[in-house]
Amino acid sequence: MILELRDVRKDYGGVEVLHGVDLQGRQGEVLAVVGANGAGKSTLIKILAGAQPMSSGEMWMDGERVELRSPHDAHDKGVRTVYQELTLVPELSVTENLLMGDFPRKRGLIDWSAAHARARELLESIGFGAIDPRTKAGRLTVARQQMVEIAKALVTEPRVLVLDEPSAVLAGSDLESLFALIRRLRERGVLVIYVSHRLAEILELADSIVVIKDGKVIETTEPARTSEDDLIRRMAGRKLEQIYPDRRQERGDALLTVTGLTRRGEFEDVSFTLHAGEIVGLFGLVGSGRSEMARCVFGAEPATSGTGAYRSPAEAIAAGLALVTEDRKRSGLVLGMSVRDNIALTTLRGPLIDMGRQRRDVAGMVDRLSIQPPQCASMPVVRLSGGNQQKAVLAKWLLAEPRVLLLDEPTRGVDMATRVEIYRMIDGLARSGIGVLLISSDLTEVMGATDRVLVMAEGRITGELRSDRTTEDEILAYSMGQHA
Amino acid sequence: SSGSDTGAGGDTAKADGYTIGVANFTLSGPYFSGMDKAIAAQAAKKGNVTVISTDANGDAAKLASNVEDLLSKNVDGVIISGGPLESAPAVLNSLKQAGKPVVLVDRKFQTGEYTSWIGPDNEAIGKQNGEFLAQALPDGGKVAIIKGGPADNSIGLARTEGVKSVLSTTSGITLVEAPDFGNWGSDGGLSVMESLLASHPDLAAVFCENDAMCLGAQRAIADAGKEKQIIVAGVDGQNEALKAIMDGTNYVVTGLNDADVIGSKGLDRAVEILGGAQVEKDTVVPSPRITKENAGQYFDPNGDF
């Protein structure tokens, strides 16, 4: 046994969010931690990383009591962490982000060519060789930034590697290489603590599973002794009958018609039509240009040629579009503002804002999406857990009562029970005549929650498939540009 | 600053003495802080006068509010050490409303009403410098002028006008006005002079609107090795300038603008007015020309300014 937590409690100024957590991890084990949004997973991880002190409780490693006063202490003990939110310094090179504070030196000065070489070597050794260590981190796609985050934790071989939802932005081969990496680390005796909302991958990867609910461990189990449904039931505290709603197949008039849309360097000749009442999935590998295409349609970025895109977000919104972007921190939320101000952002009407109405509208949305905690309206949105922040973004757009909903990875970081709610909500919206474009890197989701699926590869639409008549393999094949 | 060294009589004298407010436009210049000190020193000498001094940091609005603060403290009269300020009608009006006498030192306002003014005649100082330079350059030559700025500073303007009124009519002399201001400091004088030397290597003399700038200009001339070619003329009688003149350097002349004299007279004047005396409205304090011959007589090695 190399790591043990005993009765760990954490309160943030009076509000306890962890109520006595016990946890044991062994060498060469993948220990999965699952739980609903806001259950306390990230908090637990911050404690392991030395980034937050525990309020009470003990941490033991190799039979010795340890106290982590800072991330530095955690590094010394061999505990390395990849956080849920990206933490790279965008202006600095990948190399520098990787080696930060620990550069190879020659006569006291940093030896940059050695540093780049070491970074390249490291990236290659863990299967991320496609990333050029000299590029600025901010210029990489979210997925690649996530890979750099993971690489950063492996600069010196850790004894404990903690990953908080590392797969949320990965798909396809990137996901494969992550899993391969985790298995290799396990063989080398590393304890991998793995947090994810994707239960399928947990069942595939984990040796043991810890279920957290409301700040307490309510179950410790193994993949062989449980199932997705079972886990969801434990996390949510109730049984979920059906994850994806049954879709009826009839569709109405065309709401959005895009023809030959091109934005040079990003995507080319994209054409599709979105009808009232339908949910269209858009699948593709990292960097296939889906997000850029959606942003362009929404008027956030100008198109080079083609028709169907709006000239500005204001125009798009006036025409009834809404865009839930993939990166809520950068383009979905104003983190310092309250939940209410965030949700009301798309519906500011003057000359004087009707505060009473705003309050009621927002309260209605918080209730409808069950954003936790329920009295969050005047809290800064940054205090919500990741999944609840995502719901706040959704709420903002739903309040604008769109006719076309562009959703870019809307379930990223969202727990299973909430996903089910979101699917049900999307379904309800579609039934009421709204057209939904659902961009997702989650194959199951893209098949389960939609009527048909568009697949993009390298900036082009390579296929269109009916959700009920296709297979994962078929979609994957299209996404790699191979025509099945 | 309200110190009294008249012994036992001090207390009684103070009980029925005066409180006089000093509103300085700025104190960040040796001339102005010298003035403030002279007023305080003179008050201490009198024994029954308390002085409250304020500094507006060169801000006209702050000067107004400082005067208001002084009035709040119920001073008997106010001395305004105007610095580079044209007028302060609102200040004078509020003083008038409060029925308090105002003595201006150094600076005479062109508008508004004041009780009495004591100060130098800046144009005359400029003239007397101009005359000296005309004599010192019998063969003529290029004379540069370094102004303190900004353009609304009429003290400097008067001095420059004085110099120009003489030199522009002197044959053989050409005038060069530096485009940039020296901001009344030695560092500014230095860099303006450096620029001048680059475009006009053939200067014969330089006049600066005050001694501080001249001292900087003199350094620049020394750095360029042109001490023999260019003579320097200033205004104020700052100690370092007096010393340079006495030592026989190329710093040849300044016009004494004696903060000590003006300040102490200003306080005397205020006290006289408060005592009910009829006083002269405007008093010009003479500004003797200081050259190598008489510099020793004005130089005080321990003096502040």
Binding site: I317, L335, M337 | D69, L71, S87
Partner: protein, 323 residues
């Protein structure tokens, strides 16, 4: 930042009323009251009517500039040009009163400030230039223009010109009332109008606001225009109060305005700042000056102390805030 809870941060008890955390405002108000109490008990003069009227008058310029500055700061920008705008609008107004009716001349002064703000805003928003340099450049240019308009101070003869700056309504100066109106209207603007909310949100995350269909550029320009107009108004009032307009007035005024905002808890990164607390910041600065004068502290020591007091104030004020 990451993963830190504001509600959780303090060892201090917090005061929450109607879902809003008022701890900071209460602490800040207490601080100002303490300052006033100290002043009242240690100085005979402080509570006299003359002195109170003084303090009220002395707030006007810093107050107007601070409000405009706050609006710009909320967008994540800064406006260094306000001092120069004060000079330009003042000298323009004073120059024009000889030919135009006084209110018109004053209107022109304010419009000049507005125009300067529009230029600043356009350069910042349309050309994506750094606000600091843009307004630093316009600090220089506008000051130059003030001198180009008139190298010498202008003192209008007509006593009606002084009214705006010196008239009293009961014990309260009219100019102070104008400033208060600006603060109240400004508070409503920022908290209750779409434009105001948008300006605050832009400072928090401009991209999010843009994607919400709000015209970010137009709102940024609006913010600088507001700051310019406030500076113009301040310049007009100042010229009227002093009775003479100088092209050299207003140097470093921007620093006090910024200080007032930050003492009031505004973040120079944008998105955070309150009208009421900025007003408190103005009060703190003016009270410090007034007190040091009333105590007769010597000028240079005043400077030394003023800096130390500002540090003390933001230290005290920071304590109950979550870090």
């Amino acid at each position: 930042m990451i993963g830190q809870l504001s509600k959780a941060a303090g060892r201090f008890p917090r005061l929450v009323v109607g879902g809003r955390d008022l701890t900071l405002e209460v602490a800040f108000t207490a601080l100002i009251l303490l300052l006033v109490a100290v002043a009242a008990t240690t100085s005979d003069t402080f509570l006299t009517q003359t002195n109170i009227t003084n303090v009220l008058k002395q707030m006007v310029t810093t107050g107007l500039l601070a409000f405009g500055m706050l609006v710009v700061i909320l967008t994540g920008g800064i406006d260094l040009s306000v001092g120069s705008v004060v000079a330009l609008s003042g000298i323009l107004t004073a120059g024009l009163v000889s030919g135009l009716p006084i209110p018109v001349a004053m209107g022109v002064g304010i419009i000049a400030g507005l125009a300067a703000g529009l230029v600043n805003g356009t350069l910042v928003a349309r050309f994506a230039l750094a606000p600091f340099v843009v307004t630093l450049a316009s600090l220089t240019t506008v000051r130059g223009l003030a001198f180009v308009y008139s190298e010498v101070p202008i003192a209008p003869e007509d006593p009606a010109f002084f009214t705006l700056g010196s008239a009293l309504l009961g014990p309260i100066p009219v100019s102070t009332l104008i400033m208060l109106v600006v603060f109240v209207a400004g508070g409503v603007f920022l908290s209750r109008t779409p434009a105001g909310r948008s300006i605050i949100a832009i400072g928090g995350n401009a991209e999010t606001v843009r994607l919400a269909g709000i015209n970010v550029r137009r709102h940024v320009i609006l913010a600088y225009a507001i700051s310019g107009a406030c500076a113009g108004l301040a310049g007009v009032i100042l010229a009227s109060r002093v009775g003479i307009a100088q092209p050299s007035v207003g140097v470093a005024f921007e620093l006090d305005a910024i200080a007032a905002c930050v003492i009031g808890g505004a973040s120079l990164a944008g998105g955070r700042g309150s009208v009421r607390a900025t007003f408190g910041g103005v009060l703190v600065l003016v009270l410090i000056n007034n007190l040091l004068n009333l105590y007769g502290v010597q000028s240079f020591w005043q400077q030394v102390l003023k800096g130390l007091i500002i540090i003390a104030v933001i230290l005290v004020q920071r304590t109950p805030r979550s870090t």
